[in-house]
């Protein structure tokens, strides 16, 4: 079976979620990757280490314009004869995969959390992570959008052939006027470790202790909805039902009570640590480890212990 994986490499790097999508594809069949922009052929060649046979790169397209990326993906699928097209369910995948699906009349499985089973059905996240569903695709060609951090990635050695790929991209949908990069290196949706805090922190000026712990761990920072709504933290840090849904290996929540809407965004996390002064906080029911105590005391102590551990290793 021939598989095509689209990855967004516009920032010049191959994100972890992109490697995850490529390795996912390689478990289904012989995998070709399609991407666009100015990323170096050397970086792309490394995708051989996660199972890519070949990487096609279109240099002319330098945006994530959904209509143009969709045309590029369709051209690559037609040229490789792919019957499975994989995206990461990231912000680009969410825009492009539905266009490709509708254009090819190929069933789209979004939010996949596992490789297809023997009967071809695929498990997906539904109800904002409160349940999983099994989806059957009724068409020959399948489009799969993979939830980041759901299957993980084991990088290995290997190199893939990199070829330039040109296609008729049609006209651009819009003019890009401005790009604002998010601060910080670790993108929340694909972070393995996340430190999050809520109203219990009492004010934005107190976030230093959250950031210190995140820095010690090499974690991304996140927050609860009220904190984003009142402007203590940027909206892209808000995790929960109406914010970002994440599935890190470790989620540390300080001063967050754990309303059901917050849990919806984080209950895919492998391990949850809850720090709260209120022993009745509902979040403890979803936690693996709990500390009943004040975040202002607990976080600095935890940071100090993490730093000790890092110093030993």
């Amino acid at each position: 079976m021939s598989v095509l994986v689209y990855i967004d490499t516009l920032n010049g790097k191959v994100a972890k979620s992109a490697m995850e999508a490529v390795q996912y594809g390689s478990k289904i069949g012989a995998t070709t990757v399609i991407t666009n922009g100015s990323i170096s052929a050397e970086e792309l060649g490394k995708l051989g280490g996660v199972g890519a046979d070949k990487v096609l790169v279109n240099r002319a397209l330098t945006s994530t314009d959904a209509a143009q990326v969709a045309r590029l993906v369709k051209a690559a699928a037609s040229s490789t004869g792919a019957t499975t097209i994989v995206f990461s369910q990231d912000l680009t995948g969410k825009a492009v995969a539905p266009r490709v699906s509708a254009s090819l009349k190929a069933g789209l499985v979004s939010g996949a959390i596992a490789i297809p089973e023997g009967d071809g059905s695929i498990r997906v996240n539904v109800f904002s992570g409160k349940a999983a569903g099994k989806v059957k695709v009724n068409t020959t060609v399948k489009v799969i959008a993979l939830t980041p951090n759901a299957v993980g990635v084991q990088p290995g050695e290997g190199s893939a052939v990199v070829e330039e790929f040109s296609a008729d991209l049609g006209v651009a949908s819009y003019t890009v006027k401005e790009i604002k990069k998010q601060e910080g290196d670790i993108l929340l949706p694909e972070a393995e470790l996340v430190v999050s805090a809520g109203r219990g922190l009492k004010g934005p000026e107190n976030w230093g202790i959250v950031e210190d712990l995140a820095t010690a761990l090499g974690a991304a920072t996140a927050c609860s909805r009220p904190v984003a709504d009142i402007g203590w933290r940027p909206h892209h840090e808000h995790v929960g039902q109406t914010g970002v849904a994440i599935r890190p290996n470790l989620y540390i929540a300080a001063g967050i009570s754990g309303a059901i809407q917050h849990l919806a965004g984080v209950n895919g996390s492998k391990v949850i640590v809850v720090i709260n002064t209120d022993p009745e906080a509902p979040f403890f029911k979803a936690a693996d480890y709990g500390v009943i105590g004040d975040a202002f005391e607990v976080l600095p102590r935890l940071t100090a212990e993490i730093n000790k551990l890092k110093a030993q290793n």
């Binding site: 959904a66 209509a67 539905p98 699906s101 009349k105 789209l108 099994k134 761990l217 500390v291």
Partner: protein, 246 residues
Amino acid sequence: MKLLVCISKSPDTTSKIDFTNNNTEFNEAGVQYIVNPYDEWYALVRALELKEQNGGSVTTITVGTANDDAIIRKALAIGADNAVRIDAEAGDAYFTAFQIAEYAKVNGFDIVFTGKETINYNGSQVGGMIAELLDQPFVSLATNLEMNGNVATISKEMVGGDEVVELSTPFVVSAAKGMAEQRIPNMRGIMAARTKPLEVISAVACDHLISFESYELPASKSACKYVDVDNMAELVSLLHNEAKVI
């Protein structure tokens, strides 16, 4: 400006999620349905604000059965002028998008709005599919939208940040947090909604590209292990040696 807002129902955010019929169907017992929050708070309200600024009309469209009329009336109470319901079970995203695109083709809209996703299926599929079927631009995950004549300036989320894009109508846009603030319907709106037009039209033939076979709930968590405030060394040791996540 003619604006079309896609409205879907979803279980209230506090609903207990459960399944019946051998885990093949969502258990609706005791579930309160609401307008999908992204459709209501962001897409519909922003469309209403644009109409208030520039004139025109806001139509809502829903693919669903008569069971959806209550949430459609809610959207009318918030301020939509009229509503259309395509009379069919919603089915998969392609079926839904196809019905909406067929209606939009015939009736011609400047902007079609969707929410970024529904909170039950989280697919983020319908908006992009409608755009493809209409052969129009799709601006996904918009957090701000300003109109100047027929030119829109839109801030949208992208991987690792935001971008500001400019384009002319017609287009399809999916609304994310930031687009607008939730509006609570007032009594006048609720009364007016009773008499606003809700047109029910038949679905057109369309295949389902995917189907949900079954559902499962996550395995229940084992009880939380408590660690004393004064013993963060133990917590670090548990995370390192037992959970093996650091």
